[in-house]
Amino acid sequence: MNRLLSLLFHQGVLDEQFLQLQQLQDQTSPNFVSEVVTIYFHESEKQLRNLRNILLDREMWDYVKLGIHLNQLMGSSSSIGAKRVRNICAAFRTAVEQNNRSACMRALEVLEHEYCYLKNKLHELFQIEQQRVLGDAVRYPGAVHHQ
């Protein structure tokens, strides 16, 4: 898991905010990170869908609404520590400000791609962690697992 994590850091998918998130997890909230990330996934998927819906409209785009959804996505991504997603959102935002349609479409594509990548990797991360926890419990029934 650490290898995966460091890979993600190296790739720039995650940044130190994710570490801060991990620090918030302790005995009183043992599944904090996964809960928060799950919420993030729900919300950001909604936002992505909204964005896509707006962009699908051939004629008129509501740039303002685009900006709002984008902002929300950006805010939550940065709170999670999803660095690449956040950067794409920022690029998307400039494209929106310039009313550049093609750039917006491209940005949306990249955004969705990055988001999927992030989601997969995080799922993987959680799976590994779960397995490790289970494994620890089996091997050392009385052990307290660190985290």
């Binding site: 905010q17 801060q20 620090q23 008129m60 509501d62 303002v64 609404k65 900006g67 709002i68 959804h69 984008l70 902002n71 929300q72 996505l73 950006m74 805010g75 939550s76 940065s78 709170s79 999670i80 520590g81 956040r86």
Partner: protein, 414 residues
């Protein structure tokens, strides 16, 4: 928060609940931050929030406590007050962290917010002589009534205090509240000025606009103004560019005939509105993306217009609750509102239900039916290019006679 301008909410919260508010956003533009501070935010944090920044928040709490101690030295039992305040502040401190945003807020309002607020309120009420005055709706109603009786130009804290006849209220409390009230009104006027660019009246429109709603009775406290306006009376359909200011406080019925800026307040989420039962206020409309029809019988019409067509709709009404039935016969191009309306509020059915949380109508700008507007249910505060006066000046008595009409509306957020 969907459909709610974070800045307006800031003002409302600050004035109504007298709670310190911290803004959080991913947008760190200096202009934004300045606006946040202007609107009364105690702090503006940039997302992603870092622990280090949070660790400094205690300074706000401490500072506030110190100021309050100074204010309430005349009250007996200073220690008791300090203790109680400690307790209530600790309770409500978490609730202070309000994830508000700017026009495109990236955070969600914490559900704890209201709960904490309630706790705090109870703690306050537990001691009559509590230092910190909570301006409840009733209290504010009395205040407004007193101000109206005196006449806005002649109003002074002492007179208000006498009229209000609230034994435990001090002149200082009234004075500071009056100041806030005035500032709020001025800012509204300025917004009116800015937003009614194409309207025939740059200032607050005169009271007797011919095509305005015919209601014109002065609202008395606890009297529910019938907010039933037939569509004919509503200007919306005529796309009149007048602005209406309506105060939708809970017990404050307002005369809404006067064109004023429409103030709409709304709860961020349905869930939020529930804790604000009868006594609480400032429940914001939970329906942000909704549009409310001006249709007959609709008590409130709430429109969020992102861009700023200079037309304004006449605000019909008086909300007693959050839920606004959305009759969409007015604007064909509007999307149907999301059913976010809190089920506990039903404007139409309870015109006399004074217990419902008040509503503050926010300035809504939206184009008339004729205009092909892109209403998406978002308030675009930013686009209006309001000029926020960075200097909040202290002034004793406003000389602007037009302000009178504003007061008549009884609008205020308290």
């Amino acid at each position: 928060m969907p459909d709610m301008d974070g800045f307006k909410l800031l003002e409302h919260v600050g004035l109504e609940m007298d709670l310190p508010v911290i803004m959080m956003s991913v947008d760190g533009e200096t202009r934004r931050v300045m606006r946040g501070v202007q609107h009364g935010a105690c702090d503006y944090l940039l997302k992603p929030i870092r622990m280090k920044e949070l660790r400094n928040i205690w300074q706000h709490v401490y500072r506030k406590k110190i100021h309050e101690v100074r204010d309430t030295e005349c009250h007996e039992g200073l220690e008791e007050i300090l203790m109680m305040r400690n307790v209530s502040e600790q309770q409500s401190y978490d609730g202070y962290l309000y994830c508000g945003g700017d026009m495109t807020p990236g955070s969600k309002k914490r559900k704890d917010f209201e709960h904490k607020y309630e706790e705090k309120d109870f703690a306050d009420h537990s001691s009559v002589k509590k230092a910190r005055v909570v301006w409840t709706v009733d209290l504010h109603q009395k205040f407004v009534k007193a101000v109206n009786l005196i006449g806005f130009e002649k109003v002074g804290p002492k007179k208000i205090l006498d009229l209000m006849n609230v034994p435990w209220l001090t002149r200082e409390n009234v004075a500071s509240h009056l100041q806030k009230y005035r500032l709020y009104l001025t800012r509204l006027q300025k917004d009116d000025l800015k937003t009614s660019s194409s309207g025939p009246k740059p200032d607050i429109p005169p009271r007797d606009a011919p095509d305005k709603c015919t209601e014109s009775t002065k609202v008395q406290q606890n009297e529910v103004v019938s907010s039933h306006r037939t569509p004919n009376n509503l200007i919306i359909q005529n796309s009149s560019p007048t602005i209406h200011e309506v105060d939708i406080k809970r017990n404050a019925s307002l005369q809404t005939t006067k064109p004023k800026k429409i103030l709409t307040g709304y709860a961020a989420k349905t869930g939020m509105s529930h804790p604000f039962a009868s006594t609480q206020y400032s429940s914001f409309n939970s329906v942000l993306p909704t549009q409310y029809c001006w249709g007959g019988g609709s008590k409130e019409i709430q429109f969020k217009q992102e861009n700023n067509p200079p037309q304004f709709q006449v605000q019909d009404g008086f909300f007693t609750g959050l839920g606004l039935p959305a009759q969409q016969n007015i604007m064909p191009s509007f999307q149907p509102p999301d059913p976010v309306i809190s089920p506990s509020w039903s404007l139409k059915d309870h015109p006399n239900n004074m217990e419902l949380s008040p509503f503050l109508l926010q300035g809504q700008h939206f184009s008339s039916t004729n205009v092909d507007h892109e209403y998406k249910g978002v308030v675009e505060y930013n686009d209006q290019e309001f000029l926020y006066d960075p200097l909040r000046y202290d002034y004793e008595y406003p000389t602007d006679p037009l302000e009178f009409s504003v007061i008549d509306q009884g609008l205020f957020i308290v």
